[in-house]
Symmetry: D2
């Protein structure tokens, strides 16, 4: 029998890592002996466990170590990660280590080094000069850069939900409409308020239903009160917000009467045309053409905005970044500063943001359709709290709770 000792650290009881590791060892045909379990006695003290695992041969042992390594088990006798130079621009060598959105360490020179710029579905490259590992999208790799290969010497530390507190305590594996909505919204508000107090940047990712459902005034309120510092959206949100500012309609429907405007189907393209004539949104604000709405407030309050194009766009507005990779890169930069993400009524931009966000940044995704939330989860952004509810009433409640919190 081959034997190795692995160590588990962190809040291993809350996150059920210990039991999972033991079960996996047995399920894979291994055996285990618990050498030591130390349970943290306060909320902040971390637990650790040392387990000897046994396998019938070296191959089997490597399988076992790989399996338990995924749950965060550290094999101190681990070898360094393998590095291989990229043999071409824009593609990794076959067999590269593919990143997740979880905290990751790479063993190098006998040390576990935390990976920077954590992002899922990237490669991990080594900067020899800085002695740093960081995630890099495939499109950006240059020939000669050192790429981490395979699973050896790579350790993933799963995000611990229970200890996270805040909105994550409400996290559910199941997306359901039958939840106490106000409780969840209140918790979301508390988390947003706390993030603002701690000086973190808050991100809103939004779709045009924000305008269609009549929630512009609430988002304006959030911007004015310092709850939105970064905005990711598309041409549609901006266009319909401006349509509403100029014509009082969204998709041609009067928002204050819920009736269709005669000729209103053309309002959005007229709005785009008007902004194009001004030379852009900020210019339209300066020229006094655009005097209200979300985009107006973003200009006034210096909200950092990425308007990313999609192929269904009319126009688009001059401010829209038409190249997806350029837009993605701008989002990638801004996401680094974000401490809380609120994603509302846009599958496209929410999944895009979920792709870029590390697992430990709290994120709430709101949509009236459960299927958007299921898709987000299917694509690996399982750390996002999914809330199935309607856009305008959601923002109305959120704003009311935030106002209450501020009043104390």
């Amino acid at each position: 029998m081959v034997r190795e000792v692995v160590t588990l650290e962190g809040h291993i009881i809350d996150s059920r890592v210990l039991g999972t590791v033991l079960d996996d060892v047995l399920a894979q045909g291994g055996q285990f002996k618990i050498l030591e379990v130390h349970i943290g006695t306060t909320r902040d003290e971390r637990s650790h466990a040392r387990i000897e695992i046994a396998a019938e041969n070296l191959d089997k042992m490597h399988e076992l170590l790989e399996v338990v390594g995924k749950h965060g088990a550290i094999w101190y006798e681990a070898e360094d990660a393998l590095l291989s130079p990229a043999d071409m621009d824009g593609a990794f060598p076959e067999g590269f280590s593919s990143s997740t959105n979880q905290q990751t360490f790479v063993r190098h020179g006998g040390q576990w080094i935390e990976v920077r710029d954590q992002e899922m579905d990237c490669g991990i490259v080594y900067d020899t000069a800085a002695s740093e590992f960081s995630c890099l999208p495939v499109i950006k790799i240059k020939k000669g850069q050192l790429v981490v290969m395979g699973e050896q010497g790579v350790k993933v530390v799963p995000f611990e939900r229970q200890r996270a507190g805040g909105v994550f305590e409400f996290m559910n594996s199941e997306v359901s409409t039958e939840k106490p909505k106000h409780t969840i919204i209140r918790n979301c508000a508390m988390q947003m308020h706390a993030a603002r107090q701690e000086g973190k940047k808050l991100l809103l990712v939004g779709g045009p239903a924000i305008v269609h459902t009549g929630a512009v005034e609430h988002v304006v309120h959030l911007i004015e009160n310092g709850y939105i510092h970064v905005l990711f959206a598309g041409n549609a949100l901006a266009t319909h917000d401006i349509e509403n500012a100029l014509y009082g309609t969204s998709l041609g429907v009067y928002l204050d009467r819920a009736t269709l405007s005669e000729g209103g189907h053309a309002h959005h393209i007229r709005a785009i045309n008007t902004i194009r004539r001004c030379g852009g949104i900020a210019a339209a604000v300066e020229q006094g053409v655009l005097t209200s709405g979300i985009m107006y407030e973003c200009v006034k309050h210096d909200v950092k905005t990425v308007l990313a194009a999609s192929i269904r766009d009319d126009g688009p507005l001059p401010d829209v970044i038409t190249d997806a990779m350029v837009a993605q890169d701008r989002m990638r930069d801004l996401v680094k500063e974000v401490g809380f993400a609120l994603m509302v009524a846009t599958g496209l931009h929410s999944i895009a943001t979920g792709n870029l966000l590390p697992a430990w940044i709290p994120a709430v995704c709101v949509d009236i359709s459960p299927s958007i939330l299921t898709k987000l989860s299917d694509r690996g952004s399982f750390q996002t709290v999914g809330l199935v509810t309607d856009v305008e009433p959601f923002f109305r409640s959120l704003v009311a709770v935030l106002d209450e919190i501020e009043k104390g």
Copy 2:
């Protein structure tokens, strides 16, 4: 050529009946000559038009008259409706006239007599003693009762949406999530307030998601403020409301924390058991066992309640009517007094209510799933305004707007 003169009356321009009739005549191979069009010049003045239609033979003319009769065209030369005695209990003669939920007149003795108790999918029976026609469900017909046969002498007057005002002005053929929600909710509130001012009875048809989403407090507020006089629901709404009153949970989830209660999965059956031990909901209120919630308020405010059983019921509560036909009949009685219906988060009870409501009673159906609203519409309750939104935030907004309206 056979020629006949038909008359259209009512708000025939607003409801586009005139054009529809002319198009149909032409489409069916007939010809027409407009003899007279008189347009009402005030909102209340009705319009009328006299049209001569021509067909190549009598058969064709009868077809034409049948088609245009459906749009409310009156054929003054009409013959009386045919009556036939029921030949058995519990079934109409084959060829009976099947009713809709629209206002209907039957020609008898050369007179057009309005049908009473209008309800879709019934037969129309004649009470010789009272000289009255009324709708009767098939299950209730007794041998010998006189039943209206075929289409002759039966005239349906379609409900005129545009003139109806209030919430009906927002009526859309399309069920969409992308509508200005607060505008629609505000209009719904105004209609409810007006109905209450006019002394009409308001009906709430509700599903258990009212409790699951945390909306009990809002419904309690509505009852206390005189906005709910009749309640149609099932065992589930009552059970989870009582579970919430007794345990603070709904389906075992703490509503103020959004977390699962240990052992909470049994709370609803324990709640049922407790009420069964008391002998019923009113008895539980009297004994001080049930002291809050929707059902408590219904007892306290004398809301007329029908709790209709379904086969998925646990228990059920002693107050639940287990026979569907008995429950339906009780609903049929109560619906007669209703001037406004609010149907929330229950496909089953909403469709049941839609089956019983005449087309001219304003009804708003709220559900987070568009498919429920599409089903309601597929089943003929097309006069219902469908609102795709979330339950708790809907009630929260509704209550806030009603409070504003009352404050003036």
Copy 3:
């Protein structure tokens, strides 16, 4: 420190029970020592583990034993379950043990006795004469019957998914539309074929969308080929099936042309009336009035049928059981013989069936709306495999695969 030894038995590794128990002990502040782990080496050999758990006092120990008992840990030093006589008809004593749909044992006279008629949300009563425990719905309890109280001496053995094989291997916690549909349908077919080969009864629970989507021919094929022995449905499925047989329409839409029939909105009520005139479905078949369709085949092939009324029913057909509790009881009887359940396009009847089915009976629930499947899961029928797909194409594929399997 108080110490007790508990034993885990069964396929504890596959079902991750061991790790879960250890984690729970630690999470609740207890400690553990693994005395023995024996892993079954063949698929059929069961594993067992003996664990000593320690708590700081007796109260804490009882908590621990309760928690681990839920995962199937047996405390051999367990005391007998407490029994208390019912003090009235129709309600259990407060504090009764509420049943789940999992296999359950009650300790009595030092023996673990398996509970019969396992069904969720019931009480457990003891039949002194037969020395048997069985589940009993609250409505049926009679004064004086002995009822199991609390958690002492009650052991639940969770259903082991991985070992179950067949369709259960595909079980997912997440309801998603993005799954390989044909693979899942093929597996469902294989399970149905195996169940038929083993002489088990197959249950179809169906909603009217079976008819609306044009799947009648496929269900007829299943009946003719011995894949449906029991049918649970409502008035709507039967009515629209008969409407289709008599008129070629469903809800007035011609199924072979997908166009609306003139006057078709009355077809379903005429169909009901016709069957009422005959005296019932079987009588209509006998009289040659009903000559095709699902209900016709059910009569011809002696499929045991429960048509349960709901308050939204028109008519209803004479065969419909109008009292929900009577219908539920008839379903309860028939469910006892069922070895596989296929539930299609009916939230109402599927949840009703899920309430009655023990967890170990394989069940597949098909609906185009994910929310129905989420509701089913929220209500405790988590063992059901949810398949989000469309009704007619589902049956078309299912029938094709079954035909292939039969041809070998």
Copy 4:
């Protein structure tokens, strides 16, 4: 009173244009006198009607003419359309005439000239050299080009559904799941077969659920049998198709077993990396790396493909066009040749295609979520037939029916 004579032409009875015009005249306070109605007696003969309309003043008359002009009423005394030169690049003059996707004529030099390249939400520009009007997206307008202004001299001829035949006969305003699916699929197949026989190009617009649900083999069959000549998709469809070809998984789920692959979450990024290493999809086919699947068949059968990027893309594949406006333009070019469009499981690309397609090109949009279809319709692509069904079973049925049709 001001009087004008307008003429209606085309299949005005079938499309209910006559009645609509008359109703609108009355509703707007005008009067009418029918001078002549000639009904086409064969399917191909067109009808016409001449109507004198009267208004109290010239302003009112212009309003009336504008309203009835939208229904295709021709005012022979019409003045020419107003043209104005663009005063800058990339934006129209304010007040430009905004195009729809319906056939449109512009009056110029007393002649009605049909507009080319019909596309919604564009401006209409006049090419003096060619004496042609055509639609132009706002982004493409150059200073000095002549732009049609306002509504004067612009006539829209609505697409006539009833006469269209084929799949359009099944068109429903309501999106519903409760339709006879096979009938609709069969009709779709017949239309596709007819289009192929007539030498038209067929377009598939597809999302990744085609791969996730296991429908690759069916799409391959369609390509091989000449039913797909153009493909619009994103990086995701191509990536998961290639993931499936290389690893047998989609999003890491084995399609033939419906179980998650260990390490499978990285398969899609490995697939992208592999194709990037090859230099593109065609190169990967050439090098023998990619040997099956949809993208492979597209290369082999020379299907014209637009893979348009979105911001949520991983990678992307080298073949993906990252600039949305470049991709849109390539789609715009290819759409001109298309005679039938099948849009499956992609809201993004379907709405993008709907934006580009003229109303008279038959289009079927398939999605399991009704909300996608409602959105498509809300955005003006109301001519698209919406089919709520599941992807894999849809393609399975479609292929089977096409095979039957070919066998005759």
